[in-house]
């Protein structure tokens, strides 16, 4: 008997092991930054610690998965039900691991070119991932909120990482102010839920809400305010205004991390509350609301993207529209729909990361490289990058045999299965709109002459991350079997 056993069991610790690893290595990176690598040119070796952090985190996740399989149970419940590690949470955590390591590996050259390569960058990536861990596994309002804020605070700092760049500062300020405002709404919703149930545990709140009528005004108040906070985080219309500005101002690698990992974590949070959690009984109330939001998100996201000449803004609007597709999966709300969201978020991770990382390669000394014109003649200058970008854009548009097709397929299938024919037609039409603006980039790359001669800012890490993203985007599209099984096995019900 250890002296702690009356307070915690070993299962409690087991349920948060990956997050502990991330926090430990985050602190280690902060210290080793000046203890071992005082010379700024050696800073990229901090990546070793990021890689180690992800290895240990991945090992923890693997152990948890094995434990679930061996004991034949659905979940590990830790700290009196505050943290619940289940297949769903583990699935999302694999996505965070992939996003964090790919972004970290690809960053150093870009940050060196921008003159802001600091050790804290890697620490912030790990701390943000620690917050995401609790967003995907938390089953207590307080745990979830602290996870959300830990993630968001790291992102506020990372968005403003280019200290001498006015756009970066402005983006960080906007994101901070609007993010704090939306968190306020979310906490208000949480307080109403607590008022309904007298508990912060999601399971108990679910029971309390089930006992009430479907259109109970108090439940609706909780639902509406929580939805505002969550829809802001996934950048759904009408709470999307921060996204293009924050995505444009932030360093491209941070934009990639923000667009992928933060969105995945928020989707996990959304599903946990709306589908598996306390707001599921109020389905009648939120289904029409989310349908309207999803269509508005698709409309604004796709139509606003047409006129963008800045690639980061264009991809920002495209990521808004992708959030719309994922919301449609939730509106359909059957098993296929939720499975579709999981497949979509997995696919979205690699194709969006890839597209942003190609933009990172265009940033060179004295060349910002974010404009549509900067892509001109890319095929002639560096065909490898051009072909990779083509793959990512095809996938973003949802054209087979790339992975993007698969994500959209399951969402549409779910919509048709549940009889949402009008929504399916609208969503399909917007795919056609999306092809138009994605192919503006393709046309620029393949048909126009190059505007300048300077070679791309390539580095081993960037090529590695791009290669992995590109291969996965193709493999998931061509041989989807194991990935579909992975997503299906992660569904709770």
């Amino acid at each position: 008997m250890s002296p702690f056993s009356q307070y915690y069991t070993s299962l409690d610790h087991f349920s948060i092991i990956p997050a502990v690893m991330l926090a430990l290595f985050g602190c280690a990176v902060l210290l080793f930054d000046f203890l071992i690598f005082p010379d700024p040119r050696q800073r990229k070796w901090l990546l070793i610690f990021v890689a180690l952090a992800e290895v240990f985190t991945g090992y923890g996740l693997y152990q948890q998965q094995a434990w679930l399989a061996v004991n034949g149970v659905a979940e590990i419940s830790g700290f009196g039900g505050s943290v619940t590690v289940d297949g769903f949470g583990i699935f999302f955590n694999w996505i965070f691991v992939a996003a964090a390591i790919l972004v970290a590996v690809a960053s150093y050259k870009y940050l060196e070119t921008a003159g802001e390569h600091h050790g804290e960058y890697y620490g912030l990536i790990l701390f943000a991932q620690c917050g995401m861990y609790f967003l995907a596994t938390g089953t207590d309002l307080i745990t979830l909120f602290i996870g959300l804020e830990l993630m968001a605070l790291c992102f506020y700092v990372m968005v403003g990482f280019l200290r001498s760049d006015k756009r970066s500062n402005e983006a960080a300020m906007k994101y901070l102010l609007l993010g704090a405002f939306s968190s306020g709404f979310l906490v208000y919703g949480f307080s109403v839920m607590y008022g309904i149930a007298g508990s912060t545990k999601l399971a108990e709140i679910t029971m309390a809400i089930e006992a009430r009528p479907a259109w109970d005004p108090v439940v609706f108040l909780a639902l509406a305010t929580t939805a505002v906070g969550l829809l802001f985080k996934i950048a759904a219309v009408p709470f999307h205004m921060w996204a293009p500005d924050a995505y444009e101002g932030a360093p491209v690698t941070v934009t990639a991390y923000l667009a992928v990992a933060s969105k995945a974590a928020s989707i996990a949070f959304l599903l946990r509350l709306f589908y598996y959690g306390p707001l599921a009984p109020a389905r009648q109330a939120w289904e029409p609301m989310l349908a309207v939001v999803a269509v508005a998100t698709l409309t604004i996201g796709n139509l606003a993207a047409i006129n963008q000449t800045n690639i980061k803004r264009l991809l920002a609007y495209s990521s808004i529209s992708h959030a719309g597709y994922m919301l449609l999966g939730l509106v359909a709300g059957n098993r296929t729909g939720i499975n579709g969201i999981l497949v979509y978020i997995m696919v979205y991770t690699f194709m969006t990361l890839g597209a942003f990382l190609v933009v990172a390669a265009l940033r060179r000394k004295n060349i910002i490289g974010e404009d549509l014109d900067d892509f001109a003649g890319l095929m002639r200058k560096s065909p490898g990058y051009a072909v990779l970008m083509l793959i990512f854009l095809l996938s973003l548009a949802g054209i087979p045999p790339t992975a993007g097709f698969l994500g959209k397929y399951y969402i549409f299938l779910a919509l048709i299965q549940t009889g949402h024919y009008a929504l399916a037609v609208v969503a399909t039409l917007y795919v056609a709109v999306a092809i138009y603006y994605y192919f503006k980039i393709v046309r620029s790359m393949f048909t126009r002459p190059e505007a300048e001669e300077s070679p791309l800012a390539s580095s081993f890490g960037l090529r590695l991350a791009l290669g992995v993203s590109g291969v996965l985007t193709l493999v998931i599209g061509i041989y989807p079997e194991p990935f579909l099984k992975l997503a299906q096995g992660s569904l709770l019900r």
Partner: protein, 118 residues
């Protein structure tokens, strides 16, 4: 259920009415004879030299943030100190973890020159 909230409502009404009544009564009764010396801040230090909304260095904020961190630290240590005997080694271990994380932050801030006033 609404009946249980009635005392709060009454309390709220009184809480608003009392200061309003007091200020209104004072305004009706008191003689109003302002002059320059009387309107000056009384026994509140020296006269203000300029507008208080001027710009000052961001370092004050850094010091203030560091101060708040260590302030909060002591607040967390107090409950542990009160329950020290009952918590035993468990409490020591928990506080050690907490302090270790804070120490990392402190060392980092120190090395980054957050405490230097250049």
């Amino acid at each position: 259920m609404p009946r249980e909230y009635l005392p709060i409502l009454i309390f709220l009404a009184i809480a608003i009415a009392f200061p309003v009544a007091a200020i209104a009564a004072a305004r009706l009764i008191r003689p109003a004879a302002p002059f320059r010396t009387k309107l000056e801040a009384y026994e509140c230090g020296i006269k203000a030299a300029s507008d208080s909304r001027g710009r000052y260095t961001v370092r004050f904020y850094i010091i203030a943030i560091l101060f708040v961190i260590f302030d909060v630290e002591t607040i967390f240590l107090f409950p542990w100190a009160v329950r020290y005997k009952q918590l035993g080694w468990f409490g020591v271990a928990e506080v050690a973890v907490f302090l270790a994380i804070l120490a990392v932050g402190y060392v980092w801030a120190f090395k980054k020159g957050a405490l230097e006033w250049v």
